[in-house]
Symmetry: C2
Subunit: 248 residues, 2 copies
């Protein structure tokens, strides 16, 4: 099968180049589906222009109402489809390549959508820790853009976003409890379960692993704590996804 999909990702100075959790969701998904693709790297200020050029729909609206163009985006040269948003891309890949391994087994697409909402809520404290740490390893063009736009949205500097002192203790405990809830969901399938659907790795695992991988990469000192939570559950999850982290 020749390359049929272009996958747009945001580079960093990390050896893997890829880093963002939302981009990891799609990269894991593409590797899991085993659909040939190649990466095109875009710095943050290049995203909107390229999206408009290839006809990628915005993923939402900016606070001022203008369309917001974000990655991941894939462009499938074999069908002409251009899809934005990791969740929609996963559904597209299952629908378009049904003979490849299913990211979401038949009948579970709606449950997966609900899972994303629920898991995002449990992992919410990560959004205070991850972005400032990510910023440190962006290339200059992206770093300037990222700081300017994020600080305008949040109304605080990247440095102010990171919880400190007592607030750090509270937020970090919230994150541990959130992962604890995810651990419960896995064990609801049976105490020996490794994945959110028991023995089978699905998009739910990819969704969570994308955040875990992000933290491992940008906050190695925090990863040292997370990797021993819940009997090493999250280190094992990343290991389970090891076959699907190739960057091509």
């Amino acid at each position: 099968m020749s390359v049929s999909i272009i996958f747009y990702d945001i580079p960093s100075t990390h050896p893997s180049r890829t880093w963002s959790p939302n981009l990891w969701k799609t990269r894991y998904a593409l590797n899991f589906k085993s659909v040939p693709y190649k990466t095109v790297w875009l710095e943050y200020p290049e995203i909107e222009g390229r999206c408009k050029e290839i006809g990628a729909p915005p993923s939402g609206a900016k606070p001022d109402g203008r369309p917001h163009f974000t990655l991941p985006v894939i462009q499938d040269l074999s069908t002409g489809a251009v899809i934005s948003d990791s969740s929609k891309i996963a559904a597209y890949l299952d629908a378009t390549y049904p003979d490849r391994p299913r990211l979401m087994p038949p009948g579970t697409t709606g449950l997966h959508r609900a899972f994303e909402e629920a898991a995002r809520m449990q992992l919410d404290p990560i959004s205070r820790y991850g972005p400032p740490a990510s910023h440190k390893n962006l290339n200059p063009l992206s770093a300037e853009y990222f700081r300017r736009t994020r600080e305008a949205t949040w109304g605080k500097t990247l440095e102010e976003l990171t919880p400190k002192g007592e607030e750090d203790a509270v937020e970090w405990k919230k994150l541990e409890d959130g992962f604890g809830k995810l651990d419960e969901w896995i064990r609801a399938n049976g105490e020996e379960s490794s994945y959110f659907m028991g023995d089978a790795l699905t998009y739910a695992d990819i969704f969570v692993a994308a955040y875990v991988h992000w933290i491992q990469l940008v906050l190695p000192e925090k990863w040292d704590e997370i990797k021993v939570w819940h009997q090493g559950r999250w280190a094992k999850l990343l290991k389970g996804l090891g076959d699907y982290e190739t960057v091509v």
Copy 2:
């Protein structure tokens, strides 16, 4: 099969007697599994004593730290098990009666658990409307207990809980948007899907239908609005569960 399960429920003056969403979850589940059961009705002040008597575990802790005993509880005379909490009861029924229709198809118990969190969040505004309306049809013993304990927990009267005026407009819109999100999850399986797992009715549908049934019963004027939302989706959902609403 002779009656093997006692199901504890809270009565009201409605013709169906049953009314509470959490109790509807278990009643629907028992009827769906087609496991013979009979209802034992307990007024609110009788719940804690009976739970302790039969060894039902508390479902959580009260604000002051004492154990909180709540219904639903089922007592399975054939196994000796006594289970509290609608979610645990559903898992118990699937594990103990695997030859009966599955509430949660194999591999989906963890996703269902996440679904419950996500759906509860979307339906959150209901908790401002439902309890005051429910109170009106409780028997005097339960009504006094319900008002006293709920008002202590919330720090406001039942009458103050119900959103009014502008706040009503805001909260009701939030609820409509929440149902809109649930509608999206159903449609994620395909536009023609009727249920959260596509064509198959599962515990996710029961979970949501329990709240819908509650509103239909205690707030008929609000139900007139909900039943036309999303192309009549929620009226159809209740109809789909019509075979499982028997009260025995």
